[in-house]
Symmetry: C2
Subunit: 235 residues, 2 copies
DNA sequence: CTTCGGCATTGATCTGGATCAAAGCTTGTC
DNA sequence: GACAAGCTTTGATCCAGATCAATGCCGAAG
């Protein structure tokens, strides 16, 4: 079953994962669906196996991005573990493949199996650090810097120079970077100035030196946060 | 020893806590000291037993508040557990009483003792949720609303009407609420309009109805986040 | 091919809060 | 009491980014 292939669960005994798998339900959910609402009490632990999910804080009419969840990860395990209401709404961004486990079953498993508990602790710690990084990106950088660093990261990962495609609609990228589409659009146009050219959804680097001179990736903000599986130790 | 009195560690076997206590060092640190620097690799797990500590994200010259740690809690356990560099600088706000445990010792204990692992998981989950609440407060409310809700919460906790003292210097409160002292000062003056009067560090409510009509506390933002101890379960 | 509805661009304008610049206040020290 | 150093208040000005308003640009449906 899918859970068994999760890298950060590899130290968990197969027996435990099997027991969870028996109780689990798989679900495929199209983009745009709402998985749960803010203030709801979690009924399930939800593993995101594929696709992506946005978590949004809501206050009256406006929504603010809390987190972008990418596979394989849990959706707000903190609420499930502590038996507390979700602090955010979950909306599917790219068609999601979910594995649902009844909340009580999940908590019982964590309370029974030390290896599972350690894996979830590693996962929760990574989520915390991602949250901090998100906040730092927003508070410590201007809109232009956020865009610059985002694009620089994108280009570096995929192709040192060659043209790269934007992975999402622009309005969504803008939203994830914490600005309006208009501002994003203007900044993209202005990137010409720093050695980048954007036409449609294609990004081309024209002057990598200029780009690096203007935007500095910070590992403490931009590096992806890995989920570290902590080893169990015999007592 | 101090650790044994921590409410959220009460389900952890005394033997385990004793073993940690033996390896631990206590430390009293005056306000203003820096406990660790961003990007440092954690050498110790640090329990904050009394006082308070600010965590600050740093980028060149500017600092942004990441978290305000209040006792009893751990300072950035995520970094310690996952063997990764701190994402923030820690600066003592009010004289702190710390208990330090070598990082390796701490990780070994968590990997050995399931009950401890569950307690830390509860602690880490609570920290995650606090982080989310902090972010929502900042992104979903205007400066005026942040101040209004902060004061309303303060007044409600202490005395329904009677005058209340601000617990910190104004510049520090302003900083914690994510604005400059000037803005904070102006907003305090303007609170007259909504049924509150502030002179020096004393807050008086003149019209509770007006106050409540303007500012709405949201449990999903303003309620303190408790550390829930998860019970161990025999397998 | 045309039309329509959602994106994207571009320009003009607005605004919340920051920044800069003086004065007032406190508080502790000599 | 007088001074200094750090808070606080108040006013004037600035600015990044949002909002408002057209216009242009597809791609899908008929």
């Amino acid at each position: 079953m899918a859970l068994a292939e999760t890298p950060w669960l590899r130290l968990v005994p197969a027996a435990t994962l099997d027991r969870l798998a028996e109780q689990s339900v798989q679900h495929r959910v199209p983009a745009g669906s709402t998985l749960f609402e803010q203030a709801e009490t979690p009924a399930f632990a939800q593993f995101l196996m594929a696709g992506s999910v946005d978590l949004l804080g809501v206050n009256g009419a406006n929504e603010a991005l809390i987190e972008l969840v990418r596979p394989i990860d849990l959706l707000l395990p903190a609420a499930v573990l502590n038996r507390q209401p979700y602090l955010a709404r979950a909306r599917v961004l790219e068609e999601a493949h979910l594995v649902l486990i009844r909340a009580e079953t999940f908590r019982a498993a964590v309370a029974t199996d030390h290896a599972l508990c350690l894996a979830i602790l590693g996962c929760q710690a990574a989520q915390f650090r991602r949250q901090v990084k998100l906040g730092k990106n927003l508070k410590l950088r201007s809109a232009e810097e956020r865009v610059g660093c985002y694009l620089l990261g994108l280009v570096q990962d995929v192709a040192p120079h060659g043209p790269v495609r934007l992975p999402l609609e622009k309005r969504l990228i803008a939203w994830h970077l914490g600005m309006t589409r208009e501002t994003f659009s203007r900044i993209l146009a202005a990137m010409e100035r720093y050695g980048m050219h954007i036409t449609g959804d294609t990004v081309t680097v024209t002057d990598m030196d200029a780009l690096r001179a203007r935007f500095h990736l910070d590992p403490l903000i931009d590096d992806p946060e890995p989920i570290v599986p902590l080893p169990v130790r015999r007592s």
